[in-house]
C-alpha cells in the first residue's frame, strides 16, 4: 500500500464499504441514526489513521480537534445564527486546522509517551476551557439549540436520520478519496518513510518536522470536520466530545480495525460501535466486559487488528489454492 512500487488504481474490494453503506440505507432504515454516528467516527478514525498509521504520530488528543470542530459548528449555529451547514463545516475545519498547526508546531518535536501525554494535556485543557466558558459553550450542560439549515436549502435533517446518513456518507466518501489520493502520492510515501526510519529521512534531506506539522494539521482539519458533522447530526454538543475518553475510544477503534491500512478505520468503528450498541442493549451494566474480551482476543489472535487477521486468512487461503494448483500440474 502506497509508495513508488504500488498500483494506485481502486481495486474492486475497495468499493465494498460503499456498497454496504448504501445497502444499509435501504435495508436498515431504522438504524440510520446509529449509522450516521458510525460514519462520523469512521471519518474521525481515518484522520487518526493518517497520522498514526502512516506518519507514526501516536496521540491521545485527537478529540481536541474533533471537539473544537463540533463546538465551532455548534456555537455558530446556536449563538451566531450561521446555520448553513457548509459554512459551519468550513469554519470548523479552519478552527481545527489552526489549533492543529499551532499545537503541532509545539509538540511534534517529541515522541512516544511524551508526545502522548502532551496531546492528552492539550485536549484536557481544551476540555477545561469549554467547561469554563459556559456562556459560549453551555459548559457541562452542553450546547443545545444548534440550528442547522436544510442542506442546499432542500434536505432537512429529519427524525429518521435519512438526511444525516446520506450527508455523512458523502462527506466520508470525499474524505476517503482525499486521503487515499494523499497516501498514494509521493507525500504518502514520504510519510511512510518517516514512520519507518525518521533518522534516515533526515539524512535524505527531508524537513521531517515541518512535514509532520503539515500532516498533523491536515489530520486535525479532517477531525474538525468530523466533529462538525456530529454536531449537525445531533444539533447538540456536549463536553463528551473532548478529553481523554473520545480520544481513547477512537484509538481503540482504529487499532481494533487495523492501523495503517486505511480500511482499518472503516472496520474498527463499525465493529466497536455496533458491538457496543448491541451489548449495551442486552447488558447495560456489563457490556464493557464484552468489549474488553473482544479487545484482548483481537490482540492475542489478530495482530494488526481485524483486517490483519483477514489478511492472514486471505494469504493462507491463496497459498493453499496456489499450492493446490501447483500440485495439480
Amino acid at each position: 500500500m502506497s509508495g513508488y512500487t504500488s498500483d494506485p488504481r481502486i481495486r474492486p474490494q475497495e468499493l465494498l464499504p460503499w456498497i454496504i453503506a448504501i445497502a444499509a440505507f435501504f435495508l436498515l432504515p431504522e438504524y440510520l441514526s446509529l449509522g450516521a454516528r458510525v460514519l462520523v467516527y469512521i471519518l474521525f478514525a481515518l484522520s487518526l489513521d493518517l497520522i498514526l498509521g502512516y506518519a507514526g504520530i501516536i496521540t491521545l488528543g485527537h478529540s481536541a480537534f474533533f471537539g473544537l470542530g463540533a463546538y465551532t459548528a455548534g456555537i455558530l449555529g446556536a449563538k451566531y445564527g450561521v446555520t448553513d451547514p457548509f459554512l459551519q463545516l468550513l469554519a470548523a475545519a479552519l478552527a481545527a486546522a489552526l489549533l492543529g498547526i499551532s499545537t503541532g508546531a509545539v509538540i511534534l518535536r517529541t515522541k512516544a509517551l511524551t508526545l502522548l501525554m502532551l496531546t492528552l494535556a492539550i485536549t484536557s485543557i481544551v476540555l477545561e476551557i469549554a467547561n469554563k466558558a459556559s456562556s459560549l459553550t453551555g459548559g457541562a450542560d452542553g450546547l443545545s439549540g444548534v440550528q442547522v439549515a436544510p442542506i442546499l436549502g432542500l434536505f432537512k435533517f429529519d427524525l429518521f436520520g435519512r438526511t444525516a446518513f446520506i450527508y455523512c456518507l458523502v462527506a466520508l466518501f470525499l474524505g476517503w478519496l482525499l486521503i487515499r489520493r494523499l497516501l498514494y502520492s509521493p507525500f504518502g510515501a514520504m510519510l511512510t518513510g518517516i514512520r519507518e526510519n525518521t533518522a534516515r529521512m533526515h539524512a535524505v534531506g527531508a524537513p521531517v518536522y515541518w512535514r509532520l506539522v503539515l500532516v498533523y494539521t491536515l489530520s486535525a482539519t479532517m477531525a474538525g470536520v468530523a466533529g462538525a458533522l456530529l454536531t449537525q447530526v445531533n444539533q447538540f454538543v456536549g463536553l463528551n466530545v473532548l478529553g481523554l475518553e473520545p480520544s481513547g475510544d477512537l484509538l481503540v477503534m482504529l487499532i481494533l480495525g487495523g492501523v495503517g491500512r486505511l480500511y482499518g478505520a472503516f472496520v474498527g468503528p463499525v465493529v466497536y460501535l455496533i458491538a457496543q450498541d448491541y451489548l449495551a442493549k442486552q447488558y447495560p451494566e456489563y457490556w464493557y466486559f464484552g468489549i474488553g474480551v473482544l479487545l484482548v482476543v483481537v490482540v492475542l489472535f489478530a495482530r494488526g487488528g481485524i483486517l490483519g487477521l483477514v489478511d492472514q486468512w486471505w494469504q493462507a487461503l491463496s497459498r493453499r489454492s496456489s499450492s493446490a494448483r501447483a500440485s495439480a500440474r
Binding site: S33, R37, G142, S144, G161, V237, G238
Partner: protein
C-alpha cells in the same frame, strides 16, 4: 411502552441501577392497578454517562424503531437537553427522573420532571443557614449543577443577611481535597457549603474535612443532600456525624410511605441496599406514568398525558406530598433539614425540620420576577 434511558456504565455508571430498580419495583407492585389488557414494557438503554450524542441516538431509535409512547429516565442534564428536541419533534412525553438543572423543563413542552432542581435544596439551605451562621464558604464542583448550587445558596444566604467569605470551584475529577480544605480552614467561616456529585468523592471530601481538622476548628459542614447520600454514609464513617443537609429525600425518614418503600426495596434487592434520591425520583415518576395510563385507559396521547401530569398530585410519595407545577411542569415538593446521626448503630440522615412543604423551583420563581 416506555423507553428508559439512564447511565449504567462510565464513571457514574452506578447511578443508573438506582433508577431502574425503582421503576421496576413500582411496576411490580402496582401492575394490577392498570386497566385490563395494558402491560408496561420497559426498554432500557445505557447512555454511558454524560454523553448527549449517544443519548440522542438512543432516544431517536426508541422513538423511531421501538415506537415508545414515553421517554423517561436520564441522570445527566446534557443528555436530557439533547433529547428534548426529539421529544418535541416526535411529540413524546418525556419524564425526567433525575437530571436537576433548572432550565431543562423549559426546553420542551413535553418534559415533566419528577425529581428535583438543585435550587430547590440549595436555596432553602441558604435561607436556613443565614439564620444560624454569619459567614459561609462555598465549595462546589466546577460544572453546571455545581454552579447552580453555588448561586442558589449564595443568593439565599446573602438575602438573609449572611456573608459569603469565599467560593471555590473544584475540578469535577478531583482526587485530593486537602488544598481546598486548607484554604477554607484559613478563611475561618462559620460554615462550609459543599456541593459535589453524589458518590464516593463526597466520602473523600468528608475525610479530608476531618483529617485537616476543620471540624475541630468549629466549622460546620452543610450542603444539599447529594453530599450525604444514604448509600455512601456507611463508607464515610464517624467523620460524617453532624453534617447538616437539605434535601427532599432521606431513606431514614419515618413517614409510613417511606418506611414501606425502604422495606420493599430491601426485600427486593437485599438487606444491604438502600434506595436514594434517584430511586425516589424514579419511583414517583413511574407513579406519574401510571396515572397517565390509568386516566387514559391505556391509550396514551401526548397532549393529554402532559395535561394529566400538570394536574398531578401525589400525597403518598416516600418524600411526602408532591405535585407538578402546571406552569413549569416541574416538581413541587417538600424540603427537609437533615443531620447525620447514628441510629441503631448505623449512620442516617435524620430529618430534623421541614423547611417547606411545597417548594417550587426557586430559580423559575426568580426568573418570573425579572
Amino acid at each position: 411502552k416506555i423507553g428508559f434511558i439512564t447511565s449504567y456504565s462510565g464513571l457514574n455508571g452506578n447511578l443508573g441501577p438506582y433508577m431502574e430498580r425503582a421503576v421496576r419495583l413500582y411496576i411490580k407492585e402496582h401492575q394490577k392497578e392498570l386497566p385490563p389488557g395494558v402491560k408496561i414494557e420497559l426498554i432500557t438503554r445505557d447512555d454511558t454517562g454524560p454523553n448527549p450524542d449517544k443519548a440522542r441516538q438512543l432516544a431517536q431509535e426508541l422513538v423511531v424503531r421501538d415506537k415508545v409512547n414515553l421517554l423517561a429516565g436520564v441522570v445527566f442534564t446534557p443528555n436530557a437537553l439533547a433529547i428534548a428536541p426529539i421529544a418535541t419533534e416526535a411529540k413524546v412525553p418525556f419524564v425526567i427522573m433525575n437530571a436537576g438543572t433548572a432550565v431543562i423543563t423549559t426546553r420542551s413542552p413535553y418534559i415533566v420532571r419528577t425529581s428535583f432542581t438543585l435550587w430547590q435544596s440549595s436555596y432553602p439551605l441558604g435561607e436556613w443557614a443565614a439564620k444560624k451562621f454569619k459567614t459561609a464558604y462555598t465549595l462546589v464542583s466546577d460544572f453546571g449543577p455545581g454552579h447552580d448550587s453555588e448561586e442558589a445558596f449564595g443568593k439565599a444566604f446573602t438575602a438573609g443577611g449572611g456573608k459569603i467569605v469565599g467560593a471555590v470551584r473544584a475540578p469535577l475529577q478531583n482526587p485530593d481535597w486537602a488544598a481546598y480544605m486548607q484554604r477554607v480552614k484559613d478563611a475561618k467561616p462559620d460554615c462550609l457549603m459543599v456541593f459535589i456529585p453524589a458518590g464516593k468523592t463526597a466520602t473523600a471530601v468528608m475525610k479530608n474535612f476531618a483529617d485537616l481538622g476543620l471540624k475541630d476548628a468549629g466549622i460546620k459542614l452543610i450542603g444539599p443532600g447529594d453530599i450525604t447520600t444514604d448509600e455512601e454514609l456507611p463508607n464515610m464513617g464517624e467523620v460524617a456525624l453532624g453534617v447538616i443537609t437539605v434535601h427532599h429525600y432521606s431513606a431514614a425518614a419515618t413517614r409510613p410511605a417511606n418506611k414501606q418503600f425502604v422495606a420493599d426495596w430491601k426485600k427486593e434487592f437485599g438487606q444491604n441496599e438502600t434506595p436514594n434520591f434517584l430511586s425516589v425520583g424514579s419511583w414517583d415518576g413511574t407513579a406519574l406514568i401510571f396515572e397517565m395510563i390509568k386516566q387514559q385507559k391505556g391509550k396514551l396521547d401526548a397532549e393529554r398525558s402532559i395535561e394529566i401530569a400538570k394536574q398531578w398530585r401525589f400525597d403518598n410519595s416516600p418524600r411526602g406530598p408532591i405535585s407538578i407545577d402546571p406552569e413549569t411542569r416541574d416538581i413541587i415538593q417538600p424540603e427537609y433539614l437533615r443531620e447525620v446521626k447514628k441510629e441503631g448503630g448505623h449512620l442516617a440522615n435524620v430529618e430534623i425540620e421541614t423547611l417547606g412543604t411545597a417548594v417550587k423551583d426557586p430559580w423559575k420563581e426568580l426568573q418570573k420576577k425579572k
